[in-house]
């Protein structure tokens, strides 16, 4: 009974420090320049929900199931309010992290994989899911260089992996990478090597996007580059 959705959904996934946010922001700028109607959304950013989540994090009260449900609430709010209506209206929706972030993190935290997946089964599948692959050590160095202190949940301290936040973070991120790696085939990820130059990664991203979006969406590009 579902109507065909005219819009396109492009999402990026990868651990913190994989460079995915830089890439999706560059993609957004390019699409806007090309006259494509774009909407950008990121994980854990619903106006209604994120305050509660951050309060719970500060108090250290969140159990894995509650943590998972609050992030699902945040996602559902953005999905029902923005993502789905905009896709129906023909927008290109860009999401910095999507349901796969929950599949990875919640499972590492100990939630049942099938429970998490069924909870998110209302979400449409992306037209392109970019996965930015980097070795844990590279991502770790990129993040730790810029941060004097890691937050409790960010470092996965609730998992009792190590008393040292940095060591805990490294183990936690390693487990998330394992989850991502296991999803590459089943979820049809477009893998981008996150250790190469920013420009090279962006070139691959744009090429994939050009192949996927209908030419008619690129209003300005058509004018600039007429078919030969």
């Amino acid at each position: 009974m579902k109507k065909a959705i005219p819009g396109k959904l492009i999402i990026v996934e990868g651990v913190d420090g994989s460079g995915k946010s830089t890439q999706i922001r560059l993609l957004e700028k390019w699409l806007k320049y090309a006259g494509v109607p774009v909407y950008f959304t990121e994980w854990n950013s619903s106006e209604t929900v994120k305050e509660i989540t951050s309060k719970g994090k500060k108090k250290g009260l969140l159990t894995p199931i509650t943590f998972s449900l609050l992030h699902a609430t945040d996602f559902a709010d953005r999905y029902e309010r923005h993502i789905l209506p905009l896709l129906h209206a023909g927008y290109v929706v860009l999401a910095d992290r999507y349901i796969y972030t929950a599949f990875a993190r919640d499972v590492v935290r100990g939630c049942h994989p099938r429970w998490v997946r069924q909870m998110y089964d209302f979400a449409v599948r992306p037209d392109i899911a970019f996965y930015f692959r980097v070795p844990v050590d590279v991502a770790f160095d990129r993040i730790v260089k810029n941060r004097p202190k890691l937050k409790y949940y960010e470092a996965g301290m609730d998992l009792n992996l190590s008393n040292d936040p940095y060591e805990s973070y490294r183990i936690f991120q390693g487990r998330i990478v394992e989850q991502y790696e296991s999803m590459i085939g089943p979820e049809n990820f477009a893998v981008i090597d996150g250790t190469t130059d920013i420009e090279e990664q962006q070139r691959q991203v744009r090429q994939k996007v050009l192949e996927t979006l209908p030419k008619s969406m690129f209003k300005n590009l058509q004018k600039e580059a007429p078919a030969k």
Partner: protein, 239 residues
Amino acid sequence: MKRASQARTLRFYGHGIPYVDDSEIKGRLIVIEGPDASGRSTQIGMITAHLEAAGHAVINVGLKRSELISEGILEAKRNFAGRKTLSLFYAADFADQLENKIIPALRAGYIVLADRYIYTLMAREAVRGISRRWSHNLFSFALVPDLVFYLDVEPEELVHRVFQKNAYLDYYESGADMGLSDDMFESFLIYQGMIAKEFRKMKKRYSLVIINGNRPIPEINADLQKRIDAFLASVQGKG
């Protein structure tokens, strides 16, 4: 001091909570379900007093009572959040109380009296077109209670009890978000009828005990108390 029972393990509906130690549960979980103004809180007050007089340690829990999350639900309603969003928010509120209140109390040997549980949430979702399979999976981390009562009150009777409490019908409890009728009174009757029907559908799957809630308060109380006492006597010392 009477003991509710000896140590047992937690029983969950589905996937449960994989990381929770499910052993050494001594308490009992008893749920009273029913619409607003069905007399739930009155009954819970009376049952609590009776059980405490009999020497049991009792704790009351209910929906939308998580300190952390309840204000978020109110905010979400003010902002006209979507149906999946509200369902997940209520589930988060329930999860917070389950893990931080109910399970610790059961470990400590309390009788936990719950003023509503997952069934109200699932009924509300089902009448709003959310798939029962989805809701059932969502709440598969919930504990299976020892007893679940549903206070069944005719919508025509219920509406008068609401008006004795307040001079207005609650927006969501009347299903006003569903566009059932322009007339709030009529909308309330239709909506409460739909919810009651969902409860009857869930009866078998969730072992709900349907209690005729149209009777006077003392009569309902005697009925509930008799069933609870019989249950507690039957499990005394059995584990």
